[in-house]
C-alpha cells in the first residue's frame, strides 16, 4: 500500500483471527491490530480526526498551539500529527509519569507541563482547563468531550470492521475516553441488528480510587450508556493473564489494556458457547506491549507482575 504521507496511512488495520483463543468453530474471536497505526496505537485515529475537525472549524491555523491533558498514546499521536501540520503541542501530565513516556513525547515534538502527582489524572484535566483559560489562543482538543474523537471511529473503525467481518455479533473495546466504543458502537448498531457492544473497564488497585471523593467522580462527556450492551470490570490479574496468553498462544504482543479487553471478550464467548449461539466477536488491540516492558508486566510470575502494577493506572 502506498500513501502520500504518514498521516494518510492512519487506519485500515488488519483484522486477524484468534484460532487458539476461540472456544469453538462457531464462537470465534477476531483481533483488530491497532498497533499497526503510524505511532503504534488506536489513538492515531482520534488525534487525526480532532486536528482535522479543528482545522475545518477554523480553530487551528498555521502556527497554532494545541493543548491536551495526556501522558500516553493520545499525546504521542497528537505530537506526530501536529509536527506534520506545523502546530505546537503542549501536553499536561502528572509529574510521576515514567521517563520513558516523557522521552517518547519529547521525541515526537511535544512540550510537557506537569500537574501534581497526588491529583492523578483528574488534576491533569483541571490544570489543562486552567491553562486553556489563561491562553485563550491555545486550542484544547479535549479527547474526553470532543465529538470528533468518537466520529473517527464512526467513520473508520466501524466501517472497517463491518467490511472485514460482515457476520460480526459482538464488538468489545476498552472504556477510557469512550470514543472507540461510542463511535464504533453507534455505527454497528445502525447496521447490525442485535449486535452486542461490550465495554471492558479496567479495575485498578485501591490506591487509585482511595483519594477520590465519591461526589467528585469523572465521567467523560462523550459517554452515552445507551450505546452499550453491558460493561464488564476487569482487574489487573485477569488483564495480565490474558495479555500473556495473547502473545503465547496467538503471537500478538499487546499492551495490558488489550488483555483487559480480551478477558471481557472471553466471558462473552463463554456465554455464547453455553447458550449454543454462533458468534463472531471483534476485539480491539489498542497498542503493542513495548511501552509497558518496564512495568514488569511480561516478566516473572503473574503475582509478581500484578504486584508491580498495584497503584498504577495500567490501562
Amino acid at each position: 500500500m502506498r500513501f502520500d504521507s504518514l498521516v494518510d496511512s492512519v487506519g485500515r488495520t488488519p483484522l486477524v483471527g484468534l484460532p487458539r483463543l476461540s472456544p469453538s468453530p462457531d464462537v470465534r474471536l477476531w483481533a483488530k491490530l491497532e498497533q499497526d497505526n503510524p505511532t503504534g496505537s488506536i489513538k492515531d485515529r482520534a488525534a487525526l480526526w480532532m486536528i482535522a475537525d479543528g482545522e475545518k472549524r477554523g480553530l487551528l491555523t498555521p502556527g497554532a498551539t494545541v493543548l491536551e491533558p495526556t501522558s500516553g498514546n493520545t499525546g504521542i499521536s497528537l505530537a506526530m500529527v501536529c509536527r506534520q501540520r506545523g502546530y505546537r503541542l503542549v501536553c499536561v501530565m502528572p509529574e510521576n509519569t515514567s521517563a520513558e513516556r516523557r522521552q517518547l513525547l519529547a521525541m515526537w515534538g511535544a512540550e510537557i507541563v506537569y500537574s501534581p502527582a497526588s491529583g492523578g489524572s483528574n488534576e491533569a484535566v483541571a490544570v489543562a482547563k486552567r491553562l486553556a483559560a489563561e491562553h485563550p489562543d491555545w486550542v484544547m482538543l479535549y479527547q474526553y468531550g470532543n465529538p470528533a474523537n468518537a466520529q473517527a471511529h464512526y467513520e473508520t473503525t466501524g466501517p472497517e470492521l463491518l467490511a472485514d467481518l460482515p457476520t460480526i455479533t459482538h464488538f468489545v473495546a476498552g472504556l477510557g475516553t469512550t470514543g472507540t466504543l461510542m463511535g464504533t458502537g453507534r455505527f454497528l448498531r445502525e447496521r447490525v441488528p442485535g449486535i452486542r457492544i461490550i465495554a471492558a473497564e479496567p479495575r485498578y488497585g485501591e490506591i487509585v480510587y482511595g483519594l477520590r471523593n465519591i461526589d467528585e467522580g469523572f465521567i467523560p462527556e462523550l459517554y452515552d450508556g445507551s450505546v452499550l450492551t453491558t460493561r464488564i470490570s476487569v482487574g489487573p490479574k485477569e488483564s495480565l493473564r490474558r495479555t500473556r496468553q495473547m502473545v503465547e498462544e496467538e503471537g500478538i504482543f499487546a499492551g495490558i489494556s488489550s488483555g483487559c479487553i480480551l478477558h471481557a471478550a472471553l466471558i462473552e464467548a463463554d456465554r455464547c458457547v453455553r447458550a449454543g449461539q454462533r458468534a463472531d466477536i471483534a476485539v480491539i488491540v489498542c497498542d503493542g506491549g513495548w511501552k509497558y516492558l518496564s512495568t514488569g508486566a511480561y516478566a516473572g510470575t503473574l503475582e509478581e507482575a500484578e504486584a508491580a502494577l498495584e497503584g498504577q493506572l495500567w490501562a
Binding site: G176, G210, R212, I214, G217, I232, S233, Y292
Partner: protein, 102 residues
C-alpha cells in the same frame, strides 16, 4: 449464605474500616437497605433518595458486571454473588500517571 459487598476506601468510615461486608436481599435495593441497617449512612452515599437511583459517580458491579446494565437498583442478586462499589475515575486508556498506554 449471603452476598459479599466490597467497599472502597473512601466509604469505609461507614463500615468501621471493613473492606468487605455481608448482606442479604433479592435485589440490589433490598441488599442496600439490609446493609444500611448494620452500617447506617452507607446507603445514602450510593443511592439518591430523590431520584431513587444510583448516584451518578458511583459504579456498582455484580460479579464484575455494571448493575446499570442489569436493571440498576432492581438488579437481581443471589447468594454467593459479589457486589463491588467503585467511584468513577478518569483513567482507562486515557490518562495514566505512571504506566499505561494511550
Amino acid at each position: 449464605m449471603a452476598v459479599q459487598v466490597r467497599v472502597p476506601t473512601i466509604l469505609r468510615s461507614y463500615t468501621g474500616g471493613s473492606k468487605v461486608v455481608e448482606g442479604v436481599g433479592d435485589t440490589l435495593a433490598a441488599l442496600f437497605i439490609d446493609i444500611d441497617s448494620h452500617f447506617p449512612g452507607l446507603r445514602g452515599r450510593l443511592v439518591s433518595e430523590d431520584a431513587g437511583e444510583l448516584h451518578r459517580f458511583v459504579n456498582i458491579y455484580v460479579n464484575d458486571e455494571d448493575v446499570r446494565f442489569l436493571g440498576g437498583l432492581d438488579a437481581k442478586i443471589s447468594d454467593g454473588d459479589t457486589v463491588t462499589i467503585l467511584p468513577a475515575v478518569a483513567g482507562g486508556s486515557a490518562m495514566m500517571p505512571a504506566t499505561a498506554g494511550i
